[in-house]
Amino acid sequence: MKMKLRTSLLLALLCAVAALPSVVFSQQDWFRTGTGLGVEKIRLAVPSFAARSKEVETPTGVFNSVLLNDLELSGVIELVSPSFYPLQAPTRLDELKPEAWTASPTNAHMVAFGNLQYSGNQLVVEAWLSDVRNPQAAPVLAKRYRGELTEDSARALAHQFADEIIERLSGGLPGIARTQIAFVSDRSGSKEIWAMDYDGYNQRQLTRCGFLCLTPRWSPDSTKIAYTGYERGEVPRNMIQIYSLVLNRRVAFPAYPGTTTTPAWSPDGTEIAFSSSQSGDPEIYIASADGSRTRRLTHSRGVDVSPAFNRRTGQQIAFVSDRGGSPQIYLMSADGSGVERLTSGEGYAVSPAWSPNGQLLAFAWQRSNSSFDIYVMDVATRQTVQLTRNSGRNEQPSWAPDGRHLVFQSTRSGRNQIWMMLADGSGLRQLTFEGSNTAPSWSWK
């Protein structure tokens, strides 16, 4: 059953790729990622980094597990099983015996190795990445990182080394090991905005709304999060709020009459699009990020919500409208002109999210008689690929800055939780476990 699903997904992807003009995907490898199409993945061996002294033993353990996890999550590397490793693991460049790693059954293409030590009151990591099939060449990476002697510091240095490995082995696309995910959690008793590292570590509450805060979106420079806020009162007040992670508190954005929801940042961070019912029903508006110069973009009876700027050009806005009956995804220019429907009209299509290269839209779609699933559309051709299926309710996709990963909310394990996957639907990983967690937004860098 699983095999069959896998095959049909692969077939669907093959058809989609074949049908698309080659130009569209010349810049990206996500369709091939994880499906084994075209490119052989690099086989990387990562023997444990050695602890040079007693005080670095705990940080070394953290470093090793974080590095392996980052590389595994990257989706561009095939990690060699440690049971195939040679007995002697190098901890310095002069200890590396390339032929021992290229031989069967290891068959490694690359080896990442090194050590941690305590010197000059600092944690020092020496790290190498070697192309063992070209033993004469200089190592691909030879790094020395310094930080505090803490587990958090070891974690940060492992993320840094992982990002450098990924960047080298994926043709220059950035690693995501140091990115953040914002989301809504009810675990404190009210729905609040939370943030976490991309791997689910370091989950922390940002807002103290005490009532209802929803729909977080990172600013492109990762310093602020805009969201839909509610304040208690005889007549409850609803508005867009902006939380600064630099100042650790809210910064000003005006309140409008009516319902004001779903803020979204322009890629240069100067403007915010949002939905407001100040005219009587929910329409898309745009304003400067300080709240000045508010303009109305849509003029259509019905609900218009969830605007999303094209992340590369800033010139297009995708949004959700029920002007044609059920909610569907529409596209317009950033000045409100040229509105067209993107989805077929079938079912219930919501939550548009642009890929970083501005070519793909991920969205949640409930087709007739099925649950919500995550789909990706190539906007130029309207070709659509289904990424999740037969596993609960899947909504609110958001792209990682590498364009290879998506985060979304899913009920596949019970209550809503935040999950990560590769952009071909493989490599699923649950990131949250406590309370109900929804509406993930991946930082832009």
Binding site: T228, E234, V235, R249, T262, D281, S306, V320, Y348
Partner: protein, 252 residues
């Protein structure tokens, strides 16, 4: 003779010692050449203005500032680090004094501007009169909706006609209309749909002659359901415009 010479020698030596000792003690150290003081860095200047300086709650005021000879400028609260001149909009909840601190090599300058916020007066512990509350309980029923729709159904018209009658009987009464949705749609779209449901109920009451000024609305989307099961009965009970009685406005 010989002795006298010896004595006078000793005297001379002793006198000399005393003299030089005294001289050494008295002699002040050679004063170092007075250094030419470097030109003192000019002291920073700073101005800060708020226009308008008085706003209603929820409105914004424009802060604009100017500075000279400053390398580091901060406006507190809410704004943070800023450039040497510029402007930004603030919308404080309460009256706030903004302070610009400009630091430079020549020292520090401060400027402040106060934004007075007119908070709408809230009558002390407003209460709904008991008779009004009882009539509300007896007459006012929520209006229910079909899935993904914000149209007032025939049963909704009957309920809203009763609500309008209540509003006519109690001309002081004010209502909050909450728009609610079932769990099946998305959070974001339902915030919009809930707004349409609340406004559909409001518009219908206005069409029956009730002043819009007596009707407040809020959309909760699917965030505050009345029923928590996943079946049609429960979903139907969550698709509604829900009425909450508000205390009469003081002084009216």
């Amino acid at each position: 003779m010989r002795i006298r010479r010896g004595v006078s020698w000793t005297l001379v030596v002793v006198l000399l010692l005393i003299l030089t000792g005294a001289a050494c003690k008295k002699k002040p150290p050679a004063p170092p050449p007075t250094p030419q003081p470097p030109p003192a860095p000019s002291a920073p200047t700073a101005t800060l203005r708020a226009v308008p300086s008085t706003i209603e709650q929820g409105q914004s005021s424009a802060l604009s500032w100017n500075s000279t000879n400053a390398t580091e400028l901060r406006i507190e609260p809410d704004v943070g680090s800023v450039g040497p001149q510029g402007s930004t909009n603030v919308s404080p909840e309460r009256s706030t004094t903004y302070t610009l601190v400009a630091r430079g090599p020549g020292g520090q300058a401060e400027a402040s501007a106060r934004v007075t916020v007119n908070v709408p007066p809230t009558p002390p512990t407003p209460v709904v009169p008991e008779a009004m509350e009882k009539a509300f309980q007896r007459m006012v029923r929520d209006a229910y909706f079909d899935f993904d729709k914000a149209d007032i159904r025939p049963d909704g018209r009957v309920a809203l006609a009763q609500t309008a009658e209540f509003m006519r009987q109690y001309p002081e009464a004010r209502l909050l209309i909450e728009g609610h949705c079932d769990e099946r749609g998305s959070t974001e779209y339902n915030l919009g749909l809930g707004d349409r449901r609340a406004n559909a109920a409001k518009d219908y009451l206005v069409s029956l002659g009730i002043s819009a000024a007596r009707l407040e609305t809020v959309s909760y989307g699917k965030e505050r359901p009345f029923c928590f099961e996943s079946n049609e009965e429960c979903w139907q009970s969550n698709r509604r415009a829900h009425f909450v009685i508000l205390p009469p406005r003081g002084g009216r």
